[in-house]
Amino acid sequence: MTTLTRQDLNFGQGREAGPAGPGAGASGPAGFLERATGLCPPAVVADVLCEFLEVAVHLILYVREVYPVGIFQKRKKYNVPVQMSCHPELNQYIQDTLHCVKPLLEKNDVEKVVVVILDKEHRPVEKFVFEITQPPLLSISSDSLLSHVEQLLRAFILKISVCDAVLDHNPPGCTFTVLVHTREAATRNMEKIQVIK
């Protein structure tokens, strides 16, 4: 089971999160961090995560042979080659799914995203779980943070590529689905919104 830690890029802003942390320490870096936080709002974090999840789903479908390899094409992400599908309906399905997940990611309501591989009888055969948690505030510059995140996401891609070693072959005729587990508060908020409507 892999853990994807949602990097909170709103570091050093000194908002409601009590003492500002690195921002309060020194005056020089604080100014830079406050300017830099403008670059990394929650929307950016959600974008990065959604892009990564899209690549990961495509790669899982390729590696686990859910679809024939002929529909996949080598593309580049995070400076390494990845396999992405060319099938328009499949791509649209994945994009639509992640489009729905994005607002939940922005509000940090997502606990985990699970890609489940089902056999012909719709019984789950495999699950790829991406746990999303909020870490403590970080104190590094945004440039190195982004390249660090890219490096970690590359490592994810590599791990997915070699998952064959620990998994058995799937039966033919498998399908997949994406499950999103939200935190409890999210369900209540969504119910509230429904009632108001």
Partner: protein
């Protein structure tokens, strides 16, 4: 003692951590020369196989040697899976070197993870990347930063120039005289890809990928670099231009990383005209878009049938863009659009491409006198299609503003019309249909709205005389 240590290290990496251990990665990790790393890997494989013949180990080898193809002699360097090793060796006239490239537990489906493995460790050791390497050149000294920036600009320009030249010349070789590739075309992927990517470029590139993955040859990408701009035209609508630019740049960097020879496809010339025309058409059709934004293309039965899914995709994208633009337009203005069937024919990029001049007159024909409608050919009065916005109260009590087309007579007659659109005759009880309907419907039940529309037409018709 030291022997045991490195064997244990490799065992830990491969078996416990499930890593891909390439010789390059191992040499950086253990701080040994690459040749020693290769030897270590070989030793490990031998011992492991002796101890446990059922060990789950997949090994890839790097094979290089000279090959005679179509009378040409060329040097081939390939990374191959163990199963294909003998086959590739037998094809080479002279085998210059074979060594273990990587060891991993998982069966890799393509060569991407091998590159991924080396990427990070190489990046972190960029300053001393040749420290453990067997490739040395005393004359290779780092440049001063000022020199390097000016030279990189020159390189980019020359490279772009070269890639466009080579596309035109259809030359896909390094060293000047390589043989065309031996195609190992698998029919199944071609059939699948043919279903939704019917462009020949996509197919050739796909088969090229298949040959690469089958033989696990990591080939050099100057030809692939030629394909990338072509690919960018087609696939940019799917994946976004940023991804395509990165793809182009990465192919260039891959050339530097894997110094290997091209094995190439000769059919790029066939794809060139096809690639050029869709690109050209897309540009011209995009210019016509602002004019067409408010035209309801679904009404037109004259749409040329789209030949493949990709054009459908581009049409969907354009339709999507049109929908987004629609609410932004000023609803208070009435706009007149003359009939322009030629524009729709030009819009679909199916070969042979219709000439682009039909698109240009579209924006210019607005001030021209409106054309006579085919259905009202018998009617001597000229009718023009007018975009009107109708505001009314629907069943739910909401005020709805709709843009609809009506044909109105230029002579401004009172007899309204066979040409009324459906919004006028929508009784309040019905659900509101927001999308515009077919243009030419028979006259519906006259309601108060109809009379209102009559009055509106007569009032606004006054202002339209230009």
């Amino acid at each position: 003692m030291a022997d045991q240590l490195y064997l244990e290290n490799i065992d830990e990496f491969v078996t416990d951590q499930n890593k891909i251990v390439t010789y390059k990665w191992l040499s950086y990790t253990l701080g040994v020369h690459v040749n020693q790393a290769k030897q270590m890997l070989y030793d490990y494989v031998e011992r492991k196989r002796k101890e446990n013949s059922g060990a789950q180990l997949h090994v890839t080898y790097l094979v290089s040697g000279s090959l005679i193809q179509n009378g040409h002699s060329c040097h081939k360097v390939a990374v191959v899976r163990e199963g294909k090793l003998e086959a590739v060796k037998s094809k080479l006239a002279v085998t210059a070197s074979i060594h273990v490239y990587s060891i991993q537990k998982a069966m890799l489906k393509d060569s991407g993870p091998l590159f991924n493995t080396d990427y990070d460790i190489l990046k972190s050791n960029l300053q001393n990347c040749s420290k453990f390497s067997a490739i040395q050149c005393a004359a290779a000294v780092p440049r001063a930063p000022a020199e390097s920036s000016s030279s990189s600009k020159k390189f980019e320009q020359s490279h772009l120039h070269m890639s466009s030249e080579t596309q035109a010349n259809n030359e896909l070789t390094t060293n000047g005289h390589g043989p065309p590739a031996s195609k190992q075309v698998s029919q199944q992927p071609k059939g699948i890809m043919g279903m939704f990517a019917s462009k020949a470029a996509a197919k050739t590139q796909e088969t090229n990928k298949e040959t690469k993955t089958e033989a696990k040859e990591v080939t050099n990408a100057s030809a692939a670099g030629n394909k990338a701009p072509g690919k960018g035209n087609m696939m940019s609508n799917f994946f976004g231009k940023a991804a395509m630019n990165k793809f182009k740049v990465n192919l260039d960097s891959e050339q530097a990383v894997k110094e290997e020879k091209i094995v190439e496809q000769p059919t790029v010339s066939v794809t060139e005209p096809k690639l050029a025309t869709p690109a050209g058409l897309k540009k011209s059709s995009k210019k016509a878009e602002p004019v067409k934004v408010l035209q309801k293309e679904k009404k037109r039965g004259k749409r040329v049938a789209l030949s493949d899914d990709e054009t459908k995709e581009t049409e969907n994208m354009r339709k999507k863009r049109r929908r987004i633009k629609l609410p932004e337009s000023d609803s208070s203005e009435d706009e007149v659009f003359p009939d322009s069937p030629g524009a729709y024919e030009a819009e679909s990029p199916s070969p042979p491409p219709p000439p682009s001049p039909p698109l240009e007159p579209v924006p210019k024909t607005e001030p021209e006198p409106p054309s006579v409608k085919s259905s009202s050919g018998e009617n001597k009065r000229k009718r023009k299609r007018v975009l009107k916005s109708k505001t009314y109260l629907d069943g739910e009590g909401c005020i709805v503003t709709e843009k609809v087309y009506e044909s109105e007579s230029c002579t401004d007659s009172e007899e309204e019309l066979n040409m009324k659109t459906s919004s006028v005759h929508r009784p309040p009880a019905m659900t509101v249909k927001k999308e515009p309907r077919e243009e030419r419907k028979g006259p519906k039940k006259g309601t108060a709205a109809l009379g209102k529309a009559n009055r509106q037409v007569s009032i606004t018709g006054f202002f339209q005389r230009k």
